[in-house]
Amino acid sequence: MLDAAAAIARHEPVPAFRSAILPVEARGLVFEAGGRRLIDGIDLRLESGGGRTVIIGPNGAGKSLLLRLLHGLIAPTAGAVLWQGRPADRSIRHRQAMVFQRPVLLRRSANANMLHALRAHGFSRAEAKERARTWLDRAELAQLAEQPARLLSGGEQQRLAVARALSLDPEVLFLDEPTASLDPASTHGIETLIQNAAAAGTKIVLVTHDLGHARRLADEIVFLYHGRIEARDRAATFFGAMSNARVRAFVEGRIVF
């Protein structure tokens, strides 16, 4: 585990992790709605071996859409998403999880939210209880386990959503702006969970428009612009060189449209 964490810190792939579903490849991905082409022929391959791919770009670039297309929540108008060369089936979907910008929590206690997801993924009652306890503890929510999930603070709710997703042992975790509207302390808590997951071998695919968040977390950056991949590079190179004019304008805070 320590070797893996070190490799990730060096922005290197972690060869020890053998994925049953990665690589995932988007081929000629197109998504249209309301007569507009929102995703415009994206080709993207995400390799196994852990690591954190952060997708950034201005509003309306198609970041969240791309995440949903990769996760299979929406079907592309054209193109395909292939996992080890084949379309996602039930077993492949069970090896992924997603955390949404606004955590969707059931009208139940924090613990019951965990148990619901774990039971849905086929864990036995005893195993689900154990995993729920472990992950609530890791997310520093153990003392709030029996509290109604929707009465938790925004940061606690998002930590619960991340813990719920990670308790399922996903090989790939998609996160759609998980720290939007959170204070620095809550953001730190979420980032710690994500970094630990990446160190344990979970492939992280994260969408954000928070550049600080991207700098802290990313092994590689995918910059999306008008539904296309404008730039893709290792994080250090991306933020160091910024040879692309649109990337530079975006990073420097000038409006990109």
């Binding site: 619901h116 109604p148 999930a149």
Partner: protein, 235 residues
């Protein structure tokens, strides 16, 4: 001109003295209507949830039909059930006509569309909120329905209450299929109709007061329950 004061006095006397005839009528009313609501919920809740969750050919027509059935005239339902249960009808062999079971069937037919239509709306709203999360978890349609029905339980209680209100206040269907037989099929509404026609306003008023009180009690209980649930973010 009736002496309304005396009628009210008699009504309260009957209630406060625990009149056995009054009690029998109330008990049967509750048995029939609660049974009908339970049956209607057993049919209507899954039906409402299924039409909210699944997309299938004819779904729109089914929703339209269910919504239209909410306004079913009770006497027409009574007549149809009567024809089904009468000796010459397809279910005549069971000898159910003029029995509480026949009344439960009639009320179930009346209440099921209400439960199904209102439940569909409740579940559809919840489904819109949960949809991506539940699909991300890979839940089957049946598990999605179960999750939504459980999480919508407090709103669905109100739906069941609306069904109970319809059932317990209904007179047209139960009088046709039940026959308003004393100590067998006489319920509050049919008794009110009969006693009023006989001019015995005391018993009619007593039953009317109880019917309204019952409605207030049930509504109040559900409102309190929902309010508690809302404070706990479970509703």
């Amino acid at each position: 001109m009736q002496d309304f004061g005396a009628a009210f006095g008699l009504a309260f006397h009957l209630i406060l003295s625990g009149d056995s005839e009054l009690a029998a009528i109330i008990l049967l009313s509750l048995q029939v209507s609660l049974s009908a609501v339970v049956a209607a919920c057993a049919i209507g809740l899954p039906l409402g949830a299924a039409t909210a969750v699944y997309r299938f050919p004819g779904r729109g027509a089914l929703i339209l039909f269910t919504n239209a059935m909410m306004g079913l005239p009770p006497v027409v339902v009574g007549l149809l059930i009567y024809l089904m249960l009468s000796n010459a009808g397809p279910l005549g062999v069971f000898g159910l006509l003029y029995s509480p079971t026949a009344m439960i069937i009639a009320q179930t037919v009346l209440v099921t569309p209400i439960v199904a239509a209102l439940a569909r709306q409740v579940i559809a709203d919840l489904h819109a909120e949960y949809d991506e999360q539940l699909r991300s978890l890979g839940l089957s349609g049946a598990r999605t329905m179960a999750t939504l029905l459980w999480d919508g339980r407090y709103s669905l209680l109100t739906v069941a209450l609306a069904g109970f209100g319809r059932a317990v206040a209904e007179v047209g269907a139960v009088i046709i299929v039940g026959g308003n037989i004393d100590h067998v099929t006489r319920v509050m509404t049919t008794a009110i109709a009969l006693e009023t026609s006989k001019g015995d306003l005391g018993l009619a008023l007593a039953l009317g007061i109880i019917l309204i009180s019952l409605s207030l009690l049930v509504n109040g209980s559900v409102m309190a329950l929902r309010s508690t649930a809302a404070r706990s973010a479970y509703a």
